[in-house]
């Protein structure tokens, strides 16, 4: 059944500029695999080589982060919206000096 997938701006160029695409699947894994089949440029961008979600990507089903559900095995059904967003992180750790004294 078709699931609506919302893509972040950084990945839209791999999907013909679309912000939303429809793909089939009954789990997040199936949806993301189908997405990579339909748009080969997305392959490797969302699922890492080890088969898990890429650490710099967050995937949601409706309002829930799939990491707090069943991860790639999270079930989806018609009417669900899958959103993909980049994980936004950083900080000064790499150049932080220990406080003196």
């Amino acid at each position: 059944m078709p699931i609506e997938v919302r893509l972040p701006t950084v990945l839209r160029s791999h999907a013909g500029g679309r912000s939303t695409v429809q793909v089939d699947g009954s789990t997040i894994r199936e949806v993301l695999e189908e997405l990579a089949t339909s748009y080969p440029g997305l392959k490797g961008q969302i699922i890492a080589d080890n088969g898990a979600l890429h650490r710099f990507v967050n995937v949601y089903v409706n309002d829930d982060d799939v990491r707090y559900l069943d991860n790639l095995d999270t079930k989806v059904s018609s009417g669900d919206v899958v959103s993909i967003l980049p994980a936004v992180a950083g900080g000064c750790r790499a150049i932080q000096r220990e406080p003196e004294g």
Binding site: D63, L85, V88, G90, G91, C92, P99
Partner: protein, 146 residues
């Protein structure tokens, strides 16, 4: 591509205040607006899921809500801001490594000195370029360098 970031002073104040309130941890948020003109229309004050003085992670659910809200207003997320509590307003190697989108503006607020310092950068393929910050039509780089 615009090499500047246009802000209103109210948004500047919201960003800096959020960073101060977040002390001693780093604070973070997202910037929404028009990517074609590099104009920030609003900022989303997000939680730092890392809750650390040395790291930030925009809370994933806050990010989702901000993204949806921006889209419902015909805007999009065009950048991120975060604070450096003890270092200068320049992207760290961690910031560069994890910069998610080359089209975004990366704002860093330093709280190291007596007054906060807000600066903005583009990070494209690991290369950092500072850009002009214009607040209510006034160039902040011009005020520093003149």
């Amino acid at each position: 591509m615009f090499r500047m970031l246009l802000l209103r002073s109210e948004i500047y104040e919201e960003i800096v205040a959020h960073c101060i309130r977040g002390l001693p941890a780093e604070a973070c948020g997202l910037l929404s607006g028009d990517p074609d003109t590099a104009t920030v229309q609003r900022c989303y004050l997000t939680r730092n899921a890392a809750a650390s003085a040395r790291l930030y992670t925009v809370d994933p659910l806050d990010h989702l809500r901000a993204d949806r809200d921006a889209e419902s207003r015909g805007e999009q997320i065009i950048g991120v801001f975060h604070s450096h509590t003890h270092t200068d307003a320049y992207p760290s190697p961690t910031d560069v490594e994890q910069a998610p989108d080359p089209s975004w503006h990366y704002v860093v607020v330093s709280l190291r000195d007596i007054y906060p310092s807000l600066r903005s950068y583009r990070i494209i393929q690991g290369v950092i370029s500072e850009e002009e910050v214009v607040i209510d039509g006034h160039s902040m780089i011009g005020r520093i360098w003149s």
